[in-house]
């Protein structure tokens, strides 16, 4: 099966050469910030896994390790007032959109200080103040929502765009096809970003999709579709910038098929018996952080010492987030019955 994955054929040197070519025109600050964010996600997720194993995080917990370049690259291409909406594997998108590690970790811990007040958990992070619209846990369910958010931007005459992330398994849902049809029919500024990590839970894309060239599915709706190297943060950023321009200037949707790979299981309870260790290791050779660190180092953008300092800083930030989450109070029991209705109807005078 390895032979069938063309991305695995490419040498590390060739990949570095490609990434170096993409550095052109990007200032040092931007590049370091991109690396910092990817590293923050990596360390955040590693600690999430630890906390999960210690029983401090409950329920389902889907980690993003291996896919960092996708969320970080794509979200770096939009403004703070643009919208991001995604699936249940969303810690990275939340952090990339500007949510604090504290509020995300506290939500994982089910604490009152979490971004959703402890009512959403790993799969339902929200932060209105930074345009992060969730955190949706029915596969493909966020795709019509994103389409509606983009519809609202057009209706209100703003130039905001919407990034909608989903896994490749969502492409088999009707919600995907219904949304793309509406988006092009009504010319909506929505960018559909398919994170093709090659497995829907334990089912490989080969076992689930009759025609696997996802970017070409865009053509069925007369939408521009593009394949993007999801292990190269700059490739994702570039492709997203093109799509953002199409959305902002011309109010048109785009479908990006971003080819990536998750190094961890589907969730924390995944035994991983549907793929070999060798396969995972082959993909780990393409680790987006390793690649980007090498590129930055070899181009003299950042020194070895600076890379180490960055790692120290990130580890401290994650440690602070863990401490904050640990020390935060649980939600008040009264919170059980709040936020059900925006306009609750008070009971009429009791007949008792």
């Amino acid at each position: 099966m390895e032979a069938e994955a063309p991305e695995l054929e490419q040498s590390v040197e060739a990949r570095k050469a490609e990434q170096k070519a993409r550095l052109k025109g990007l200032d040092r600050k931007t590049l370091v910030e991109l690396y910092y964010q990817m590293l923050l996600v990596r360390r955040f997720e590693e600690k999430s896994a630890e906390s999960y194993s210690m029983g401090k995080i409950g329920g389902f917990c889907h980690l993003y390790i291996g896919q960092e370049a996708v969320a970080i690259g794509a979200i770096s291409a939009v403004r703070r007032d643009d919208y991001v909406i995604t699936s249940y594997r969303e810690h990275a998108h939340a952090l990339a959109k500007g949510m604090t590690p504290e509020s995300v970790m506290a939500e994982l811990y089910g604490k009152a200080t979490g971004c959703s007040k402890g009512k959403g958990g790993s799969m339902h992070m929200f932060d209105k103040s930074v345009g992060f619209l969730g955190g949706h846990a029915i596969v493909g369910g966020q795709i019509p929502l994103a389409t509606g958010v983009a519809f609202a931007s057009k209706y209100l005459g703003t130039d905001q765009v919407t990034l909608c992330f989903f896994g490749e398994a969502a492409v088999n849902q009707g919600a995907f096809h219904e949304s793309l049809n509406l988006a092009q029919l009504w010319k909506l500024p929505c960018i559909y970003i398919c994170e093709n990590n090659q497995y829907g839970m334990g089912t490989s894309v080969e076992r689930a999709m009759s025609f696997q060239d996802i970017s070409l599915k865009a053509h069925a709706y007369e939408i521009v579709g593009e394949i993007v190297d999801g292990m190269d943060v700059l490739a994702v950023r570039e492709a997203t910038r093109r799509a953002v321009e199409r959305a902002r200037k011309y109010s048109l949707p785009t479908l990006l098929e971003v080819r990536t790979y998750r190094f961890m299981g589907h969730s924390m309870s995944d035994p991983g018996n549907y793929r070999t260790r060798a396969e995972i290791e082959q993909h780990q050779e393409r680790d987006p952080l390793k690649l980007f660190a090498a590129t930055l180092r070899e181009t003299g953008t950042i020194s070895e010492t600076e890379l180490k300092d960055l790692d120290t800083r990130v580890r401290e930030e994650v440690a602070n987030a863990l401490r904050f989450a640990d020390e935060s109070p649980e939600p008040d029991p009264r919170e059980l019955y709040t936020d059900i209705y925006a306009n609750p109807i008070p009971p009429t005078e009791s007949a008792e």
């Binding site: 209105k128 609202a152 209705y341 009791s350």
Partner: protein
């Protein structure tokens, strides 16, 4: 006060709310150019334009979810299902997105939105186009469920639903669009959600009826009056949240209750109302609460079978006689 049909009352409510707030828009299948499959949206495209009165493809999950997304960022969508039967395709977005968004976002994202259209039994369209789904939607905290039975209620409740900041399931009865009633002309005439209406006062038995069953319950009350049985008819109008207090107040007075509905009996709204009465007013009951429900079968096509599947005045009268031990 003008005397108009329920269809016209709904049309007025939509027109007035579209006039009042630019963030209100209407979308659905055939709502614009075709003027509405049931003509509820007649003339609205002409007045408000294609940007606000929007024909959708037949893609219920897609446009329902699109509406929820638009509501997340400040619009106030009115999504029409050509009939509620088709909403079944959109339930993921109604239940998992609209109903739960406010809660799971810790109060950050309200969904000020109306899902509306005709529901309940229609005329001879068989099983897939003739069913009552209110118990489904009323099951979910986060949704409000409204079912008007008169022209005035239709207008006043729809206007309140559009102004409400929560997702409202607004079920119009397909057979009742042509029924006429007096409706106030005031553009700010609204009826609050969550308040039941005593459609007829009485002392001997309470009939709780909604939607299609309200006019039938009133006819039953008239017949029973001739026998000297005075019935109180209560229309909850809003199924969730249910104004149980108005019902309990009546039960304490009459001590006998019939709950009439056209929906299937199993896991239905009448069962819920019956349970509430048992829990809150058991000691006031002189007879077990009696349900009159639609037949527990998919709706048949043949006229005679269809008539057997939907409760009529005779069944309601019989049930009242039963609880009154007559």
């Amino acid at each position: 006060m003008a005397v108009i049909t329920i269809r016209e009352a709904l049309n007025q409510a939509l027109r007035e709310e579209l006039q009042r707030d630019k963030n209100v828009f209407l979308m659905g299948e055939e709502v614009a150019a075709y003027q509405g499959a049931y003509k509820v949206t007649k003339g609205l495209l002409e007045e408000f334009g294609a940007q606000r009165v929007i024909d959708t493809p037949i893609t219920e999950l897609g446009f329902a979810g699109l509406g929820v997304g638009a509501a997340m960022v400040g619009l106030r969508p009115i999504v029409e299902f050509m009939t509620w039967n088709f909403s079944i395709l959109a339930t993921d977005q109604i239940i998992n997105s609209a109903a739960k968004m406010l809660y799971m976002s810790g109060g950050q994202f309200k969904i000020p939105m109306v899902f509306r259209g005709p529901g309940g039994s229609a005329f001879q369209v068989s099983s897939q186009h003739s069913q009552a789904l209110e118990s489904w939607y009323a099951y979910f905290p986060g949704l409000k469920v409204v079912m008007p039975s008169t022209a005035a209620d239709a207008k006043g409740l729809l206007k309140s639903a559009v102004r409400d900041d929560d997702p409202v399931i607004f079920i119009e009865q397909e057979r009742m669009y042509g029924q006429k009633g007096e409706v106030p002309d005031d553009v700010d005439f609204t009826i609050p959600l969550g308040v039941a209406d005593v459609k007829r006062a009485g002392t001997d038995a309470t009939i709780v009826a909604r939607s299609l069953m309200v006019p039938l319950a009133l006819k039953a009350a008239e017949e029973l009056e001739k026998e000297g049985v005075s019935c109180e008819v209560i229309d909850p109008r809003t199924i969730r949240p249910l104004d149980i207090d108005t019902i309990i107040k009546s039960v304490r007075k009459t001590n006998r209750v019939v709950v009439a509905e056209e929906s299937h009996p199993f896991c239905g709204v009448a069962g819920e109302i019956s349970a509430e009465i048992n829990e809150r007013a058991f000691d006031y009951l002189d007879a077990p609460v009696r349900r009159v429900s639609g037949a527990d079968v998919p709706m048949p096509y043949a006229k005679n079978l269809e008539n057997l599947a939907i409760p009529g005045v005779a069944q309601i009268v019989a049930a009242v006689r039963e609880v009154a031990y007559l």
